[in-house]
Symmetry: D2
Subunit: 309 residues, 4 copies
């Protein structure tokens, strides 16, 4: 695996720094850090090998992989089960999409402490009402009261063990159509409540409202975005706006959807002849999952065992 951030690491590629410390260091570097979305162990491994320095465990993508809607249909522990697979698949720090925290301040802090325990680097919580609906669906997005959400952030902060574990506050004010001033007010309130970074979300086709927010925000805390709809914006523009993190939240899953649809239709209609040359060989899969390492380890650890058997 390519480890892009040069730290002293052990034989297995693991850093002595905590996942939270790694993520903080990345976001503090000049220019936006590119964070790749993952939804299971496989997509995490692929993203790590491609060179990304951090992962986003996407609620939409994990839900889709599980076969359910991104409307709190999977339980928070089911999602953390998938997060654990994402975390274990590489040595990269993982920022976890924690949705609204699955209830109140108490369920939220249970989620973040469990996420910390399984090795995540941070959790992003959004200021909507539980059960939430995916931000790209419909117009019924209801914002949580500011003070309630602030209390939730504070409770999470207080419950964590590692002071470097990141709490990212995501405001859905622009998604809910509440306007720039509301978005800024909320971000500031969340900063005061203890958030370590702000995720400002937009579903506009251009970067305009993000740009307005970023300029008015003036770097009070690291700022993250997920340019799913305004993907045509050049990366240089995100750098100019002083953004700390750019999350490619769902592209990997969407690529898999298209590929699996094609594979199924091709197999169903005509069999594997034309499909076969276009898909990964099994050896490619085995390389990705490091089967050779296991064969080597069998020699190392079982040699004596076979003598004794």
């Amino acid at each position: 695996m390519t480890i892009t951030n040069s730290q002293s690491r052990d034989r297995l590629g693991r850093s002595p720094r905590s996942p939270g410390a790694l993520l903080r260091a990345l976001l503090a570097e000049p220019g936006p850090t590119l964070v790749m979305g993952a939804h299971d162990g496989l997509s995490a491994r692929i993203a790590a090998e491609a060179g990304f320095p951090a992962l986003w465990a996407s609620g939409l993508c994990m839900s889709t992989a599980l076969g359910v809607r991104d409307s709190d249909e999977a339980s928070w522990t089911e999602l953390l089960g998938m997060v654990a697979r994402v975390v274990e698949a590489s040595a990269l720090p993982v920022l976890v999409d924690g949705d609204t925290g699955y209830g109140n301040f108490n369920t939220a802090r249970r989620f973040v402490t469990r996420a910390e325990r399984i090795g995540a680097a941070g959790v992003c919580l959004e200021d909507k009402v539980f059960p939430k609906m995916n931000s790209f669906v419909g117009d019924g997005h209801v914002l949580a009261p500011v003070a309630e959400f602030g209390g939730k952030l504070a409770a999470c902060r207080d419950a964590l063990r590692d002071p470097d574990f990141m709490i990212v506050a995501r405001t859905e004010a622009l998604i809910a159509g509440a306007g720039l001033a509301e978005a800024l007010d909320r971000a500031e309130a969340y900063r005061l409540a203890g958030a370590d970074a702000v995720f400002i979300h937009s579903r506009k086709p251009t970067v305009t409202e993000i740009a307005e927010f970023a300029r008015a925000w003036e770097g009070r805390l690291p700022l993250l975005i997920a340019p799913t709809t305004y993907h045509a914006t050049p990366l240089e523009e995100f750098a100019r706006l002083g953004l700390s993190g750019v999350i490619w939240a769902n592209q990997s899953m969407r690529a898999a959807v298209t590929a699996m649809k094609r594979a199924c239709h091709s197999l169903w209609a005509e069999g594997p002849v034309s499909l076969e040359p276009t898909i990964a060989s099994l050896d490619e899969v085995f390389d990705l999952m490091r089967y050779q390492d296991l064969a080597d380890d069998e020699k190392r650890y079982e040699a004596r065992g076979q003598d004794g058997a």
Copy 2:
């Protein structure tokens, strides 16, 4: 979802027949039934929409999705957790790859009864030693004693509730290089021990050894194959050999691997501009996961609630 086997079904597409009965009926139809491999809820939904009548919950693919090797690295309950997502994602019968049964007759029957409970249609058990290695990797495949594996099949049969739930016995004799006669002897022993079908596995690039087996077998039980390496064989040949089921075990996962690699490399190297038009839109994902049904149900079930709130 296209339901290809015409049964009376309820409003949600579910048959009154048990999953096992559905699978048996499919395998009894003339010509080989095409069974599509799935590894999570998403891949299962896609396979169902493409028209396949049955699914294979692949051990290799579920392991890969979880980020681990197909060498019993995932626990049997972790795998059943994924199987449950495959089962819930469609109304199709699901045949579960049960590997070696995760130990002895007792762990095997715990696996199959749990698989039955969560709605699977059948389990395939293979005659290797636990922990196993994927059949396409290396040359160290050790076969279990015939009688031990027969006892395992009998214990599973006795523990099941639905007499239609299928126990498929997979012999790895050809994979282990033990020859055709051994493969046939084992298949016959497993038939006598209570297997409902036989899965004969080969990793040769041509269908030759499968064809020899099939002719000598003479249809004593339904015969299944997974033509991963001998994919160039035309479907008509499988029909001529009297095969009951053809499993496309891992093509969907392999297609996803290639697509996610491309997506990650493209995003990392140049951003989303050239990638975006080649991957599923979010609306396509929302259609696949039936978000509109949820919106409709909200109107149906929450209407009165909003009046009363």
Copy 3:
């Protein structure tokens, strides 16, 4: 295990009737059915051996066993994991404490369909707001709007597969101090929304308000209670009131708490000498868990295996 309701059952003590049908039949019998609370596989097995015909998978007790508070601190899938252990531990029908349904109509129906899938007989939902607090704690119990809760019940009914699976509507009107009329109005609304039975909950030290409710209810649906605080009421009184089910919800867990406290204090203070004769022997545990059956099965299923090895 003693099976008190005489049905034709298979070799493993399992009835051909669905769990829901078994529970309905029990509640239809004259006189109140005694339902024993359980919180894991062990407590379920013990309750079944004692003769109880049905089990209550208690939210309070499962939460306590998990080490958390009965305030939706465990996720709904964690609780269903424990429910599965309760279900698998005996052949008895299990009524599951589903709390408020963990969100809205959609999370509730996901809970009940999953409960049905793992073999439960019914789910009880209560008309409070998520996250809930245990009914015996504090005075902040907020009732859900009637119509919203009715929509939740209807959504659950529509999503189930087995028409005999029971939806029990529990009103917390008396717990919330809303009075008898409100409790009756709510119960009637829930009946009209599709509930199969009503659970009327009270935390008064006497049966008075339960009695008033029962008389006014006039048997429109089967009525269940959990006499945790009004335990001094004789069973005959419950029969006179026409109750269908009496749930001993938490006594087994509370007995275990006292016993484990004593065991720990005794071991810590003086070692095992005086404790040992007061606790179950290991053989008693092995009998309860039927280790002899496994030994017998080893002979049955491994005999041939050992010859062949």
Copy 4:
């Protein structure tokens, strides 16, 4: 909770030292450390409150709580799910019963790294063949080849992140009737393979064979025992033998079995009248689970929320 080992701890009673470091320090103290068995969050909380400084997550007791036999009937991840509840229930270090490691060196190291990740202090592995049978049942205990088990220990050691995480090697040589010399040879081989402590197991009614082993061992590594059958031995004798840890492995579970049996029989035969005064009140349960802390936190974190709502 009473914290008996005086360390600087945070507001929530957590030590800055790793769980492994805490456990090592305890075992290094003069005299045997008393380690209390636990099988779920509740039993762990009770043991911690009674004053024990460390916990044993018992395979027998967790299996029994789940309703299955201690013969690898629960999967390793199911057991780790219970271990996580034990770990989260207190600030005490938890030594995990890892049975045989659930297969080979590879499954064993997956188990120990996952145990480390969820916050355990160490894992104990035993030198029997998978699937194992509980040491107190029957005479069919088959020892693993020494070198194979040594390779397993080495693989676990190499895979761990925290050098203080403890690998305890348990030899079943005495249980299998292989004699003292074999037990000593195995313990020495496991020490050389990297074990941090040795668990010598016996099911004799007296301490004799443990005493012989301990004298011959001469303190080469910390020695642990579980005096389930030789419980009449005074603690002073264990101190004289230089033992580092005494595990009360299953007494708490056995106490719960007796209490729950009594409760069920009493409720079934006569109702709750005579039972009620003998079991913990709900308030006692709520104290144990710290419901008041949640009420306090609601005030702290929701106050502003309610203003804003």
